[in-house]
Every structure is written in structure tokens, then in C-alpha cells.
């Protein structure tokens, strides 16, 4: 069955540094991968989508890479700020499921210290 691993449950960094979060998946090759941010008591908020034919995508201070050979996506936040503290989830489409049905990782809780 499909499996997603976000290999850090928690990541603590200093303000101004770059945060790098990792998402690994197994057992098949999705056409795309999404990243979401989730704050306590709230639903996930979409950040970025990257397709299998895209190596890298950027949005303001965010950068996502997608390596289909390694079956891995990296999510970077540059010049991190305390307001970036949240849980970050990666998600990919469910193979064999209805299109749009997502499988999520457990998430990485990022804490940015001032």
C-alpha cells in the first residue's frame, strides 16, 4: 500500500535560518504532491503543489523540490520567522482512489525561535 513518511516529527530552528522538511513516499509514483500548513485547532491550508515533471517550485519564501527517482520532496522555508511555526503536511494523490483523494503524512511540527 502507499506510504508517506515525514521523517521528523518536530523541527526547531532559529529565526532567520532556513527550515528544510522532508517527505518520502513508497510503492508508487504520484502525478503530483501537495504541501499544507496546519495550525492548532484549524484545518490544513494549501501552500504549494508540484507536479511530477517539475523539479522545483517557489512561492515567496517557500521552495518545494520533487525528486521522483528518490521518491522524495523537500520543503524549504527561507528566512524563517516565528509566525512560520506550525505543522506542515505533505500529501499525494491516492493511487486507485477518486481523483483528488489525498493521502497525508503525519506532519512535521516546526518551531521557529526568535
Amino acid at each position: 500500500s502507499q506510504k508517506i513518511e515525514q521523517n521528523s516529527e518536530a523541527l526547531n530552528i532559529q529565526e532567520g535560518k532556513t527550515a528544510t522538511l522532508t517527505c518520502n513516499y513508497t510503492n508508487y509514483s504520484p502525478a503530483y504532491l501537495q504541501w499544507y500548513r496546519q495550525d492548532p485547532g484549524r484545518g490544513p491550508v494549501f501552500l504549494l503543489l508540484i507536479r511530477e515533471n517539475e523539479k522545483e517550485k517557489r512561492k515567496e519564501r517557500l521552495k518545494v523540490t520533487f525528486d521522483t527517482t528518490l521518491k522524495q520532496s523537500l520543503f524549504h522555508i527561507t528566512a524563517s520567522q516565528p509566525a512560520d511555526s506550525a505543522t506542515y503536511l505533505c500529501a499525494l494523490e491516492s493511487y486507485g482512489g477518486s481523483q483528488g483523494n489525498l493521502i497525508f503524512g503525519k506532519g512535521t511540527k516546526l518551531s521557529v525561535k526568535p
Binding site: 484549524r42 490544513p44 477518486s98 483523494n101
Partner: protein, 116 residues
């Protein structure tokens, strides 16, 4: 509306009670999803609607779980004879288009269900 809304935000039920959770998606959104999120876990897919049609219910954990979207807008997730293992946050999400792999999903705040 401005976003996806869900009600109630919190629900406490005694084991064996039936509960109904409501989702109001963004107006005009064709697709609607329900997810279950246990503490410390990512959301897990339950079911998917395209307008009023329930196209995928493969994630519903048992026949005690039932979802409907009769007019293609508001959706209700019903859990019968609740068990302690049903305690979780139930998230609803909608997306603009139908059956597309590339749509972002807009999530509601969730309903936190606690079964005693």
C-alpha cells in the same frame, strides 16, 4: 461564503449515541471530501462527493459511518452507535472542480468529536 464552515466545532457524545456533523463548503465548489484526523496524525480520507453523487466511500471505517450531500452543497457525516475509537477531528474540504488531481482543497476548521 468566505470559506468552508463546519458545525458543531466540538461534540461530546456518550458511547452508543448517534451524531451528525455538518459541512458547508465554499459556494459553487463541486467536490467535497471528508477526512478523519486522530491526534498527532495526518488527515485520513473517508469519502468524496462530486455534486450530490458519492463517488468514493472507501475510507469509511465501518457501516456505522454514513455521509450524504443531497442537493450538492451542504454535507452531513453521520456516525451511528459511536465508539471511543471514533474520537477524532473530522475535517471537511471542498475544491472547485470535479475529479481533477490538481485542485487545491480548502479545509474547514473541523469538528472535534469526543466519545466518552
Amino acid at each position: 461564503g468566505a470559506g468552508v464552515s463546519q458545525s458543531p466545532r466540538y461534540k461530546v457524545a456518550k458511547r452508543g449515541q448517534d451524531v451528525a456533523l455538518r459541512c458547508d463548503p465554499i459556494s459553487g465548489h463541486v467536490s467535497l471530501f471528508w477526512y478523519q484526523q486522530a491526534l498527532g496524525q495526518g488527515p485520513e480520507f473517508l469519502t468524496y462527493f462530486q455534486n450530490e453523487a458519492q463517488l468514493d466511500k472507501s475510507g469509511l471505517p465501518s457501516d456505522r459511518f454514513f455521509a450524504e450531500r443531497p442537493e450538492g452543497s451542504v454535507s452531513t457525516l453521520k456516525i451511528q452507535r459511536t465508539q471511543q475509537e471514533d474520537s477524532a477531528v473530522y475535517l471537511c474540504a471542498s475544491s472547485q472542480l470535479a475529479a481533477s488531481s490538481y485542485n487545491e482543497q480548502f479545509f474547514g476548521p473541523g469538528t472535534r468529536l469526543t466519545v466518552l
